[in-house]
Structures are given as structure tokens and as C-alpha cells.
């Protein structure tokens, strides 16, 4: 069925103002920023905001912008606030169009630039207060994940940081998804189908039976997942 071919999802994407790319200090600042939290920025998608950047009209300039960002592990995926000519050049360079793209009276949006300039240490913990139902997937990108309800069998929760479940963990939990070996999983009741930290995993039948149903924490010690009673 055609309806199944297209599925929607909402992502958080960094926005870089095109004018900033012209600033010689920009690359240096960006490099410093990324050095502070490389995992957060690794292969992160970026949208180029063309507001007040009328000089961007050539396809080659978009290719160049992509190269600059690529050098800093970022992936340019599209543009916004493009006028029709810019949009044509951008799509020619293989970039997507993000709304709004119709020329609008310029309205200052001070939050975007300040957000990208904020220290990444402020990456907020993702908080989920409703039960995570079977078939649902939640990914806390570059953050910890806290669930204050049960995670159902057949549900999947993923975080680049730690995972806390204040309820029964019956589905799959993958902490340190970006490779952080220090990430841990905490839950009030261990009934998980699978737990994983930085790619090391245990399926349900490998989990120690004496820990099943108890509050535990799971950590990676000497490249082995260890489950200890809390």
C-alpha cells in the first residue's frame, strides 16, 4: 500500500547561518566547539539558513559549504529561507529544501544562532513520562534518557548517554549508542529482551536469572556487560 511507503519522523537538526561560513573565525570556533563533544557532532545533519545571504547563488558555493562542514564531521543536508534562484542552485548541489523557503520579510530569530553556539554540555536529558509501548522506538541523541514508566516488550529505547527506567524494563535498551563505553543502564525491574552498552549486548537468556525482576544497573567492565543489584 502506498501509505506505507512514506513514514514521518521528527528530528532535531542544527541550523548554520550562511553568513557565518564567510567569517574566518567561524571554522576555528566550530572546531573548538566540536572538540568539546565530538560524539554529539559526529555525522550530525546541518541545514544552511540562507536568510540575509543573497550572495549564495552558485551551485559551487553550496558544494563548498558542504566541504567546509564535512571537514568538521558535519553533514549538510539542506537549506532553508532560500529564494527561488538559491533553491535551484541548492537542489542542483543535491541539497533538500526545508520550510520556510518562500522569501519572507526578514524576522530576527535570535534563538537559532545562540543555540548552536551553546556549549554542548547543556544537551538536555530526554524525559519520557508515558509508558513506552510495544513497537515504539525512542532515541535520545547525544543525551541521557530517563523513562518514568514501564518500557513494554517489543519497545526499543536508545540513548547516546545513560538510560534510566523508573519502572519495568521489558523491551530493548541500548545505552552509549554513539560508542560511549562509560554509559550505564539503570532500571527498577529487569525483564529486558536485550541490553546493550556501546555495542556490547546481552539478550534475555544471557541475563543472569537471579537478577531478573530486580532493580539493577548494567555497566561495561573490561568489555563485558555486568549486571549488579541496586
Amino acid at each position: 500500500m502506498a501509505g506505507n511507503l512514506v513514514q514521518g519522523a521528527v528530528f532535531t537538526v542544527m541550523v548554520v547561518r550562511a553568513g557565518m561560513l564567510r567569517d574566518p573565525a567561524f571554522e576555528h570556533e566550530l572546531a573548538e566547539q566540536i572538540l568539546r563533544s565530538p560524539r554529539f557532532f559526529l555525522n550530525a545533519p546541518v541545514v544552511l539558513d540562507l536568510k540575509q545571504a543573497a550572495e549564495f547563488t552558485n551551485q559551487s558555493e553550496f558544494v563548498e559549504a558542504r566541504e567546509i562542514l564535512r571537514r568538521h564531521t558535519l553533514t549538510l543536508i539542506g537549506v532553508q529561507n532560500a529564494v527561488p534562484a538559491q533553491l535551484e542552485a541548492a537542489t542542483g548541489a543535491g541539497l533538500a529544501s526545508f520550510a520556510p523557503n518562500a522569501p519572507q520579510p526578514s524576522r530576527s530569530t535570535p534563538r537559532e544562532p545562540t543555540r548552536s553556539a551553546m556549549p554542548a554540555a547543556a544537551a538536555k536529558t530526554r524525559l519520557v513520562t508515558q509508558p513506552v509501548r510495544s513497537g515504539t522506538q525512542i532515541y535520545a541523541r547525544g543525551a541521557d534518557l530517563v523513562v518514568t514508566a514501564a518500557v513494554g516488550a517489543g519497545a526499543e529505547i536508545i540513548a547516546d548517554g545513560n538510560i534510566h527506567v523508573y519502572g519495568a524494563l521489558r523491551g530493548r535498551a541500548l545505552a552509549g549508542a554513539g560508542g560511549d563505553v562509560d554509559a550505564r543502564i539503570f532500571c527498577s525491574r529487569l525483564e529486558a529482551e536485550l541490553v546493550s552498552i556501546a555495542g556490547h549486548y546481552l539478550v534475555s537468556e544471557q541475563l543472569p536469572p537471579e537478577q531478573q525482576g530486580f532493580p539493577v544497573q548494567i555497566a561495561l567492565v573490561d568489555e563485558r556487560l555486568t549486571v549488579t543489584r541496586n
Binding site: 509508558p131 509501548r133 510495544s134 513497537g135 513494554g152 516488550a153 519495568a168 521489558r170
Partner: protein, 271 residues
């Protein structure tokens, strides 16, 4: 009059959705509410059999959606209760015939003349089931006390929270209730079935009722009589309780303990 749309859904098949939809709708009608029960299971039409009106079907839901028939031509009035109507579906079409706009239009029209519109969802999580749940104000999750049914119910509850009209338009979420059907206290005692507490804990939604496993349900289906018309049946009484709780009454849960066998039955085995 602005009727409420109630969907009975489960994900898994064979858990008793149609039986429950028929019983629930009849239970509402017996309490004086104008109620229509709609079969969303296009191509596997069964509700008319359970309601005992299969020989009176002329036009169906799909005819009305497509504008080939008027609503009052397709609605079948129940012979036992004046407040109860059955809206059968097509046996020859498939679920793709359920166009969302058309379904929405028909439901809006029904809301003008009914208090409750009870939708019997098909199994699965495909188009038919999603269309049946989309317009719901309330959902009754029909679950059996076994792991696969409970897991599918969990999935459906997640879909109701994300794929319904109420979710799409940021309205108050669909009110979700649990109806635990085919509960056999004897088998729960032996550890062959999940306990009520297990199911409640896993799904964590309000419990509307527990329907005991009962031979009278099969008999009722075969004779085309919703089980609530059987005053003797424990299952029928349990559905009455569930309807009362749905309407806001407080009623204690019954039929949670194994039936006490009489002295003679105990001596001579099952009668």
C-alpha cells in the same frame, strides 16, 4: 445530540472483539442509550451473525461511504431492543474501501442520531484497524490473559496515542480502557494464564471489566444473540458490569475466583 465513538480493538485476532462489541452495544442499548454497532471488518463480515441479523442485510457500510445508499437504508434495527441498530459491512470488498474521509462523514452523520457509536475493529494494525481507531473518542482494548495478546494490546495502545485523530489534532487523548476477556480463574490458579494483576501491571490502563471464559458465549454467538441478553450467564453479567463502569458507575469486579463446584459435581466430575 453528539454521539461518542467507541472502538473495540486488540491487534490480535480471535480475542473476542466482535463478541465484546455486540455485547457492549447491546448493554448500552439495554440501559436506554441509542446505540449503533458498526462492523469495520470489511471482507470478513461477522458482526451481523453475532447480532443475528445476517438475513436482513441489504446495503452496507461501504455502500453508504460510496454514496450508493442512504444511512437509514443500511442501518438494521435490532428486533430485541428499540435503541439498538446494526451497521453491517461488505463481505465482497476489502479494507481499502474504507476511505477515511468517507468514514468520517458517515460517523459525523451517525453522531446526530445516536448516543454511542460502537466500532468493531478488524484484527491487525493495517489500514482497516487504523481507520477504525482513527475517529475514536474512547477505546476498549480487548485482551486475553496470555502474553501475545497483551503485547499486541500494548502496541495498539501506542498507536492510539500517536495515530488517532485526537492525537493528530492535539485534542484530549483517546480514553483507553482494558477489557480482559476469556479469563479462566481456574487456569490462572494453575499458572496456565496470566493473572489479572499481571495484565493490569503490563498495560497500565484503567480496567473496565473481566469477562470469564464461558461456554454460554459460544452458544450466544451461534444463536446470534449478544451475550448480555442471557441473564443466567456469568459472562453476560460481567459485560453488564463493564457497561455500567464505562458509564461511570462503581461496581466491584466479579468472577475472579474459580467457581465453587457443588458437592455432587465434585464427586462426579464436570457435568
Amino acid at each position: 445530540m453528539a454521539g461518542k465513538v467507541i472502538v473495540l480493538t486488540s491487534g490480535k485476532g480471535g480475542v473476542g472483539k466482535t463478541t465484546s462489541a455486540a455485547a457492549f452495544a447491546a448493554g448500552l442499548a439495554l440501559r436506554g442509550h441509542r446505540t449503533v454497532v458498526i462492523d469495520f471488518d470489511v471482507g470478513l463480515r461477522n458482526l451481523d451473525l453475532i447480532m443475528g441479523c445476517e438475513r436482513r442485510v441489504v446495503f452496507d457500510f461501504i455502500n453508504v461511504i460510496n454514496g450508493d445508499a442512504k444511512l437509514n437504508q443500511a442501518l438494521i434495527k435490532d428486533k430485541r431492543n428499540d435503541h439498538l441498530f446494526i451497521f453491517p459491512t461488505s463481505q465482497t470488498r476489502d479494507k481499502d474501501a474504507l476511505k477515511r474521509d468517507g468514514v468520517g462523514r458517515v460517523l459525523e452523520e451517525l453522531k446526530d442520531s445516536f448516543d454511542y457509536i460502537v466500532c468493531d475493529s478488524p484484527a491487525g494494525i493495517e489500514h482497516g484497524a487504523l481507520t477504525a481507531m482513527y475517529f475514536a473518542d474512547s477505546a476498549i482494548i480487548v485482551t486475553n490473559p496470555e502474553v501475545s495478546s497483551v503485547r499486541d494490546s500494548d502496541r495498539i495502545i501506542g498507536l492510539l496515542a500517536s495515530k488517532s485523530r485526537r492525537a493528530e489534532f492535539n485534542l484530549e487523548p483517546v480514553a483507553v480502557h482494558l477489557l480482559l476477556a476469556r479469563y479462566s480463574p481456574e487456569r490462572v490458579r494453575k499458572g496456565e494464564m496470566l493473572t489479572l494483576e499481571d495484565v493490569k501491571e503490563i498495560l497500565s490502563i484503567p480496567l473496565l471489566g473481566v469477562i470469564p471464559e464461558s461456554e454460554s458465549v459460544l452458544r450466544a454467538s451461534n444463536t446470534g444473540t449478544p451475550i448480555v441478553f442471557d441473564e443466567e450467564s456469568s459472562a453476560g453479567r460481567a459485560y453488564h458490569d463493564a457497561v455500567a463502569r464505562f458509564l461511570g458507575e462503581q461496581r466491584e469486579m466479579r468472577f475472579l475466583q474459580p467457581e465453587r463446584r457443588s458437592f455432587f459435581r465434585a464427586l462426579f466430575g464436570r457435568a
